[in-house]
Amino acid sequence: MRASDTFDARAPRLSARSRSVLNEPNLILVSLLLAAGCSRAPATDPGAEYRGFLLVDARPKVDFVLMDTEGQPFDFRERTDGYVTLVFFGYTYCPDICPVHMANIGAVLKEASPDVRGRVKVVFVTTDPERDTPEQIRTWLDNFDPSFIGLRGDMEKVNEIQVALGLPPAVKGEVEEDGSYLVGHSAYVLAFTSDNLAHLLYAFGTRQVDWASDLPKLVAENWE
Protein backbone atom coordinates (compact mmCIF):
# COMPACT_ATOMS: atom_id res chain seq x y z
CA MET A 1 0.00 0.00 0.00
CA ARG A 2 1.22 3.43 -0.83
CA ALA A 3 1.82 5.86 1.96
CA SER A 4 -0.66 8.26 0.43
CA ASP A 5 -3.42 5.72 0.93
CA THR A 6 -3.40 6.53 4.58
CA PHE A 7 -3.82 10.24 4.30
CA ASP A 8 -6.85 11.67 5.96
CA ALA A 9 -8.82 14.88 5.99
CA ARG A 10 -6.00 16.64 7.78
CA ALA A 11 -3.35 16.23 5.16
CA PRO A 12 -4.58 18.74 2.59
CA ARG A 13 -5.54 21.17 5.28
CA LEU A 14 -2.07 21.49 6.65
CA SER A 15 -0.77 22.59 3.33
CA ALA A 16 -3.71 24.77 2.45
CA ARG A 17 -3.06 26.66 5.64
CA SER A 18 0.36 27.91 4.85
CA ARG A 19 1.15 30.47 2.30
CA SER A 20 2.70 28.96 -0.75
CA VAL A 21 4.09 30.89 -3.60
CA LEU A 22 3.63 29.23 -6.92
CA ASN A 23 4.71 30.17 -10.34
CA GLU A 24 2.38 29.86 -13.28
CA PRO A 25 -0.23 27.13 -13.27
CA ASN A 26 1.84 24.34 -12.06
CA LEU A 27 -0.85 22.05 -10.80
CA ILE A 28 1.46 19.09 -10.65
CA LEU A 29 3.61 21.02 -8.25
CA VAL A 30 0.55 21.88 -6.21
CA SER A 31 -0.38 18.25 -5.98
CA LEU A 32 3.14 17.30 -5.01
CA LEU A 33 3.02 19.86 -2.27
CA LEU A 34 -0.30 18.49 -1.14
CA ALA A 35 0.94 14.94 -1.21
CA ALA A 36 3.98 15.85 0.76
CA GLY A 37 1.90 17.90 3.18
CA CYS A 38 4.46 20.64 3.02
CA SER A 39 4.95 23.95 1.39
CA ARG A 40 7.89 26.07 0.43
CA ALA A 41 6.43 29.02 2.21
CA PRO A 42 8.59 32.03 2.72
CA ALA A 43 7.60 33.95 5.81
CA THR A 44 5.91 37.15 4.80
CA ASP A 45 3.96 39.83 6.57
CA PRO A 46 1.80 37.74 8.89
CA GLY A 47 -1.00 40.28 8.67
CA ALA A 48 -1.26 39.66 4.95
CA GLU A 49 -0.94 35.93 5.18
CA TYR A 50 -3.34 33.99 3.07
CA ARG A 51 -4.26 30.39 3.53
CA GLY A 52 -4.79 29.80 -0.15
CA PHE A 53 -1.96 29.37 -2.63
CA LEU A 54 -0.67 32.72 -3.78
CA LEU A 55 -0.07 32.86 -7.52
CA VAL A 56 3.05 34.82 -8.36
CA ASP A 57 1.64 35.54 -11.78
CA ALA A 58 -1.92 36.60 -11.18
CA ARG A 59 -4.35 35.23 -13.75
CA PRO A 60 -6.55 37.63 -15.67
CA LYS A 61 -10.26 37.10 -16.12
CA VAL A 62 -11.43 35.41 -19.26
CA ASP A 63 -14.23 36.78 -21.42
CA PHE A 64 -17.08 34.36 -21.61
CA VAL A 65 -20.84 34.25 -21.63
CA LEU A 66 -22.66 31.18 -20.31
CA MET A 67 -26.30 30.60 -19.39
CA ASP A 68 -27.32 31.11 -15.79
CA THR A 69 -29.91 29.01 -13.98
CA GLU A 70 -32.69 31.34 -15.17
CA GLY A 71 -31.68 30.60 -18.73
CA GLN A 72 -30.29 34.12 -19.17
CA PRO A 73 -26.86 34.90 -20.62
CA PHE A 74 -24.31 35.73 -17.95
CA ASP A 75 -21.36 37.87 -19.03
CA PHE A 76 -18.68 36.80 -16.60
CA ARG A 77 -16.41 39.83 -16.84
CA GLU A 78 -19.21 42.36 -16.73
CA ARG A 79 -21.24 40.75 -13.95
CA THR A 80 -18.34 40.04 -11.63
CA ASP A 81 -16.44 43.27 -12.26
CA GLY A 82 -14.81 44.51 -9.07
CA TYR A 83 -16.12 41.69 -6.89
CA VAL A 84 -14.18 39.06 -5.07
CA THR A 85 -15.23 36.19 -7.30
CA LEU A 86 -14.74 32.57 -6.34
CA VAL A 87 -14.93 30.34 -9.41
CA PHE A 88 -15.34 26.59 -9.19
CA PHE A 89 -15.88 24.01 -11.91
CA GLY A 90 -17.73 20.85 -10.84
CA TYR A 91 -20.95 18.91 -11.21
CA THR A 92 -23.99 18.25 -9.07
CA TYR A 93 -23.72 14.45 -9.21
CA CYS A 94 -20.35 14.82 -7.49
CA PRO A 95 -20.95 13.62 -3.92
CA ASP A 96 -17.61 14.34 -2.31
CA ILE A 97 -15.43 17.23 -3.46
CA CYS A 98 -17.95 19.66 -4.94
CA PRO A 99 -20.56 19.80 -2.17
CA VAL A 100 -17.87 20.08 0.50
CA HIS A 101 -16.26 23.10 -1.20
CA MET A 102 -19.64 24.75 -1.78
CA ALA A 103 -20.95 23.95 1.70
CA ASN A 104 -17.82 25.30 3.39
CA ILE A 105 -17.91 28.57 1.43
CA GLY A 106 -21.67 28.86 2.01
CA ALA A 107 -21.32 28.30 5.75
CA VAL A 108 -18.61 30.94 6.06
CA LEU A 109 -20.48 33.54 3.99
CA LYS A 110 -23.54 33.00 6.17
CA GLU A 111 -21.53 34.11 9.19
CA ALA A 112 -19.59 36.84 7.38
CA SER A 113 -20.26 40.53 7.92
CA PRO A 114 -22.51 42.21 5.33
CA ASP A 115 -19.46 44.17 4.14
CA VAL A 116 -17.71 40.98 3.19
CA ARG A 117 -20.75 39.09 2.00
CA GLY A 118 -21.85 41.90 -0.28
CA ARG A 119 -18.47 41.96 -2.01
CA VAL A 120 -18.19 38.24 -2.74
CA LYS A 121 -19.72 36.36 -5.67
CA VAL A 122 -19.51 32.61 -6.01
CA VAL A 123 -19.69 31.22 -9.54
CA PHE A 124 -20.19 27.50 -10.10
CA VAL A 125 -19.74 26.25 -13.66
CA THR A 126 -20.95 22.75 -14.44
CA THR A 127 -18.56 20.30 -16.05
CA ASP A 128 -21.50 17.98 -16.74
CA PRO A 129 -23.94 19.97 -18.90
CA GLU A 130 -25.46 16.70 -20.13
CA ARG A 131 -27.06 15.91 -16.78
CA ASP A 132 -26.91 19.24 -14.97
CA THR A 133 -30.05 21.04 -16.06
CA PRO A 134 -30.48 24.67 -14.97
CA GLU A 135 -33.11 23.48 -12.46
CA GLN A 136 -30.81 20.81 -11.08
CA ILE A 137 -27.98 23.31 -10.65
CA ARG A 138 -30.30 25.81 -8.95
CA THR A 139 -31.69 23.25 -6.50
CA TRP A 140 -28.19 22.03 -5.71
CA LEU A 141 -26.73 25.51 -5.16
CA ASP A 142 -29.71 26.63 -3.08
CA ASN A 143 -28.70 24.04 -0.52
CA PHE A 144 -25.51 25.95 0.10
CA ASP A 145 -26.45 29.55 -0.64
CA PRO A 146 -29.22 30.83 -2.91
CA SER A 147 -26.97 33.68 -4.03
CA PHE A 148 -24.47 31.31 -5.65
CA ILE A 149 -24.42 31.74 -9.42
CA GLY A 150 -24.74 28.58 -11.53
CA LEU A 151 -23.56 28.57 -15.13
CA ARG A 152 -23.92 26.09 -17.92
CA GLY A 153 -22.61 25.82 -21.45
CA ASP A 154 -21.42 23.13 -23.78
CA MET A 155 -18.56 21.03 -22.55
CA GLU A 156 -16.12 22.19 -25.19
CA LYS A 157 -16.65 25.82 -24.33
CA VAL A 158 -16.44 25.19 -20.58
CA ASN A 159 -13.18 23.32 -21.08
CA GLU A 160 -11.76 26.16 -23.15
CA ILE A 161 -12.60 28.51 -20.29
CA GLN A 162 -10.89 26.26 -17.77
CA VAL A 163 -7.75 26.02 -19.85
CA ALA A 164 -7.71 29.79 -20.34
CA LEU A 165 -7.92 30.15 -16.56
CA GLY A 166 -4.99 27.80 -16.07
CA LEU A 167 -7.09 24.87 -14.89
CA PRO A 168 -7.12 21.42 -16.46
CA PRO A 169 -10.10 20.62 -18.69
CA ALA A 170 -12.73 18.27 -17.25
CA VAL A 171 -12.82 14.68 -18.45
CA LYS A 172 -15.91 12.52 -18.64
CA GLY A 173 -15.35 9.05 -17.21
CA GLU A 174 -16.45 5.74 -18.59
CA VAL A 175 -20.21 5.32 -18.90
CA GLU A 176 -21.49 2.46 -16.73
CA GLU A 177 -24.13 -0.05 -17.75
CA ASP A 178 -26.81 2.00 -16.02
CA GLY A 179 -25.76 5.10 -17.95
CA SER A 180 -24.07 6.76 -14.99
CA TYR A 181 -20.61 8.24 -15.21
CA LEU A 182 -18.20 10.34 -13.23
CA VAL A 183 -16.43 13.50 -14.30
CA GLY A 184 -12.83 14.27 -13.44
CA HIS A 185 -12.30 17.95 -12.81
CA SER A 186 -10.08 20.42 -11.03
CA ALA A 187 -10.62 20.57 -7.30
CA TYR A 188 -9.35 24.15 -7.04
CA VAL A 189 -11.36 27.27 -6.38
CA LEU A 190 -9.91 30.26 -8.20
CA ALA A 191 -10.26 33.57 -6.36
CA PHE A 192 -10.45 36.84 -8.29
CA THR A 193 -10.23 40.09 -6.38
CA SER A 194 -11.42 43.65 -7.00
CA ASP A 195 -8.61 44.20 -9.51
CA ASN A 196 -10.23 41.45 -11.64
CA LEU A 197 -7.18 39.24 -11.31
CA ALA A 198 -6.96 35.85 -9.62
CA HIS A 199 -4.15 35.98 -7.10
CA LEU A 200 -5.11 32.91 -5.12
CA LEU A 201 -5.99 29.29 -5.63
CA TYR A 202 -7.77 27.22 -2.98
CA ALA A 203 -7.14 23.51 -2.93
CA PHE A 204 -9.57 20.90 -1.78
CA GLY A 205 -9.13 20.63 1.96
CA THR A 206 -9.53 24.37 2.51
CA ARG A 207 -11.42 24.52 5.77
CA GLN A 208 -14.09 26.92 6.94
CA VAL A 209 -11.56 28.60 9.25
CA ASP A 210 -9.36 29.18 6.21
CA TRP A 211 -12.16 30.81 4.22
CA ALA A 212 -13.19 32.83 7.27
CA SER A 213 -9.63 34.07 7.56
CA ASP A 214 -9.09 34.80 3.87
CA LEU A 215 -12.39 36.22 2.60
CA PRO A 216 -12.19 39.52 4.55
CA LYS A 217 -8.56 39.89 3.42
CA LEU A 218 -9.53 39.25 -0.19
CA VAL A 219 -12.25 41.90 0.07
CA ALA A 220 -9.88 44.45 1.66
CA GLU A 221 -6.86 43.72 -0.53
CA ASN A 222 -5.97 46.12 -3.33
CA TRP A 223 -2.75 44.37 -4.44
CA GLU A 224 -0.80 47.55 -4.72
Binding site: D5, V171, A187, V209
Partner: protein, 163 residues
Protein backbone atom coordinates in the same frame (compact mmCIF):
# COMPACT_ATOMS: atom_id res chain seq x y z
CA UNK B 1 -25.69 -14.97 4.56
CA UNK B 2 -28.45 -13.28 6.46
CA UNK B 3 -25.93 -11.66 8.72
CA UNK B 4 -24.42 -9.79 5.84
CA UNK B 5 -27.56 -7.90 5.07
CA UNK B 6 -28.10 -5.54 7.92
CA UNK B 7 -30.86 -3.27 6.83
CA UNK B 8 -33.08 -0.62 8.30
CA UNK B 9 -34.92 -3.11 10.39
CA UNK B 10 -31.94 -4.64 12.07
CA UNK B 11 -30.50 -3.54 15.31
CA UNK B 12 -26.91 -2.37 15.30
CA UNK B 13 -25.85 -4.75 18.02
CA UNK B 14 -27.73 -7.81 16.92
CA UNK B 15 -25.30 -9.18 14.39
CA UNK B 16 -22.30 -9.67 16.55
CA UNK B 17 -21.40 -9.81 20.19
CA UNK B 18 -20.10 -6.30 20.55
CA UNK B 19 -22.62 -3.62 21.35
CA UNK B 20 -21.79 -0.10 20.16
CA UNK B 21 -19.98 1.88 22.80
CA UNK B 22 -21.62 4.98 24.15
CA UNK B 23 -19.08 7.14 22.33
CA UNK B 24 -20.27 6.02 18.90
CA UNK B 25 -17.57 3.43 18.34
CA UNK B 26 -18.66 0.15 16.82
CA UNK B 27 -16.48 -2.89 16.93
CA UNK B 28 -16.07 -6.51 16.15
CA UNK B 29 -13.09 -8.20 17.65
CA UNK B 30 -10.03 -6.11 16.92
CA UNK B 31 -11.67 -3.83 14.36
CA UNK B 32 -13.13 -0.58 15.60
CA UNK B 33 -15.20 1.81 13.52
CA UNK B 34 -15.93 5.34 14.70
CA UNK B 35 -17.13 8.74 13.47
CA UNK B 36 -19.66 7.20 11.11
CA UNK B 37 -21.54 9.82 9.12
CA UNK B 38 -23.53 10.16 5.94
CA UNK B 39 -23.49 13.57 4.29
CA UNK B 40 -27.05 14.77 3.83
CA UNK B 41 -27.47 14.35 0.08
CA UNK B 42 -28.11 17.49 -1.87
CA UNK B 43 -30.00 15.52 -4.47
CA UNK B 44 -31.85 12.39 -3.44
CA UNK B 45 -29.94 10.10 -5.75
CA UNK B 46 -26.72 9.33 -3.98
CA UNK B 47 -24.94 10.00 -0.74
CA UNK B 48 -21.44 9.67 0.65
CA UNK B 49 -20.59 7.87 3.89
CA UNK B 50 -17.46 8.40 5.96
CA UNK B 51 -15.94 6.66 8.97
CA UNK B 52 -12.67 5.80 10.65
CA UNK B 53 -11.48 2.19 10.91
CA UNK B 54 -8.89 1.18 13.47
CA UNK B 55 -7.31 -2.23 13.41
CA UNK B 56 -5.91 -2.83 16.89
CA UNK B 57 -4.94 -6.41 16.11
CA UNK B 58 -1.71 -7.97 14.93
CA UNK B 59 -3.05 -9.05 11.56
CA UNK B 60 -3.89 -6.81 8.66
CA UNK B 61 -7.39 -6.94 7.22
CA UNK B 62 -9.27 -5.41 4.33
CA UNK B 63 -12.64 -3.73 4.09
CA UNK B 64 -14.23 -5.47 1.13
CA UNK B 65 -17.86 -4.37 1.20
CA UNK B 66 -20.34 -2.09 2.89
CA UNK B 67 -23.97 -3.10 2.98
CA UNK B 68 -27.04 -1.10 3.84
CA UNK B 69 -30.71 -1.39 3.06
CA UNK B 70 -30.74 2.39 2.58
CA UNK B 71 -29.13 2.06 -0.84
CA UNK B 72 -29.76 -0.14 -3.84
CA UNK B 73 -26.04 -0.24 -4.56
CA UNK B 74 -22.97 0.54 -2.51
CA UNK B 75 -19.43 1.18 -3.75
CA UNK B 76 -16.19 2.05 -2.04
CA UNK B 77 -14.49 4.95 -3.80
CA UNK B 78 -11.27 6.79 -3.61
CA UNK B 79 -10.31 10.10 -5.15
CA UNK B 80 -7.28 10.06 -7.32
CA UNK B 81 -5.57 13.11 -8.70
CA UNK B 82 -4.36 12.99 -12.25
CA UNK B 83 -3.02 15.92 -14.23
CA UNK B 84 -4.50 18.31 -11.71
CA UNK B 85 -7.93 16.69 -11.92
CA UNK B 86 -9.69 14.84 -9.15
CA UNK B 87 -11.48 11.72 -10.23
CA UNK B 88 -13.38 9.21 -8.16
CA UNK B 89 -12.82 5.56 -8.81
CA UNK B 90 -14.34 2.44 -7.33
CA UNK B 91 -11.95 0.17 -5.43
CA UNK B 92 -12.43 -3.48 -4.57
CA UNK B 93 -11.29 -2.98 -1.01
CA UNK B 94 -9.32 -0.90 1.41
CA UNK B 95 -6.43 -2.45 3.36
CA UNK B 96 -6.33 -1.79 7.06
CA UNK B 97 -2.88 -2.92 8.21
CA UNK B 98 -2.41 -4.11 11.76
CA UNK B 99 -2.28 -1.35 14.36
CA UNK B 100 -3.33 1.16 11.74
CA UNK B 101 -6.12 3.64 11.36
CA UNK B 102 -7.73 4.59 8.07
CA UNK B 103 -9.76 7.77 7.85
CA UNK B 104 -12.47 7.94 5.21
CA UNK B 105 -12.91 11.62 4.43
CA UNK B 106 -13.90 13.97 1.60
CA UNK B 107 -11.17 14.00 -1.02
CA UNK B 108 -10.01 10.55 0.06
CA UNK B 109 -11.83 7.27 0.58
CA UNK B 110 -15.60 7.36 0.86
CA UNK B 111 -18.49 4.95 0.56
CA UNK B 112 -20.96 5.81 -2.17
CA UNK B 113 -24.56 4.98 -1.45
CA UNK B 114 -26.27 4.76 -4.82
CA UNK B 115 -29.95 4.31 -5.66
CA UNK B 116 -31.07 5.69 -2.31
CA UNK B 117 -34.25 4.00 -1.17
CA UNK B 118 -35.52 7.00 0.79
CA UNK B 119 -34.57 10.62 1.13
CA UNK B 120 -32.04 11.10 3.91
CA UNK B 121 -32.22 14.19 6.06
CA UNK B 122 -30.11 15.57 8.86
CA UNK B 123 -31.18 13.84 12.05
CA UNK B 124 -31.89 10.53 10.32
CA UNK B 125 -29.65 7.57 10.86
CA UNK B 126 -29.12 4.43 8.86
CA UNK B 127 -27.77 1.01 9.64
CA UNK B 128 -24.89 -0.41 7.69
CA UNK B 129 -22.43 -3.23 8.00
CA UNK B 130 -18.77 -3.24 7.09
CA UNK B 131 -17.60 -6.57 5.78
CA UNK B 132 -13.94 -7.49 6.13
CA UNK B 133 -11.83 -10.02 4.27
CA UNK B 134 -11.21 -11.96 7.50
CA UNK B 135 -14.94 -12.59 7.79
CA UNK B 136 -15.34 -10.03 10.54
CA UNK B 137 -18.27 -7.73 10.22
CA UNK B 138 -18.87 -4.46 12.03
CA UNK B 139 -22.42 -3.18 12.25
CA UNK B 140 -22.67 0.57 12.51
CA UNK B 141 -25.23 3.32 12.80
CA UNK B 142 -24.46 6.29 10.58
CA UNK B 143 -25.91 9.68 11.40
CA UNK B 144 -26.95 11.94 8.57
CA UNK B 145 -25.39 15.39 8.90
CA UNK B 146 -25.00 18.40 6.55
CA UNK B 147 -21.90 18.74 4.39
CA UNK B 148 -20.94 21.95 6.18
CA UNK B 149 -20.51 20.02 9.46
CA UNK B 150 -18.35 17.25 8.02
CA UNK B 151 -14.96 18.84 8.49
CA UNK B 152 -15.60 19.28 12.19
CA UNK B 153 -17.25 15.89 12.67
CA UNK B 154 -14.51 14.02 10.85
CA UNK B 155 -11.59 15.83 12.48
CA UNK B 156 -9.40 13.28 14.17
CA UNK B 157 -8.99 13.39 17.88
CA UNK B 158 -5.37 14.39 17.49
CA UNK B 159 -6.58 17.47 15.67
CA UNK B 160 -8.02 18.86 18.87
CA UNK B 161 -6.53 22.15 19.83
CA UNK B 162 -5.12 22.53 16.37
CA UNK B 163 -6.66 25.56 14.81
Amino acid sequence: MALLVCGLGCSAESSNGDAPAADGTFSSGLLKVSTVYVAEPVTDERAAMYFTISNVGDRGDELVAVRTAAAGRVEIHQNVEEDGRMMMEAVSGVRVPSRWTIHFAPGSYHVMLLELQDSLRTGDSIYASLQFESGDMVSVVAQVRPYAELEELLASEDDEGDS
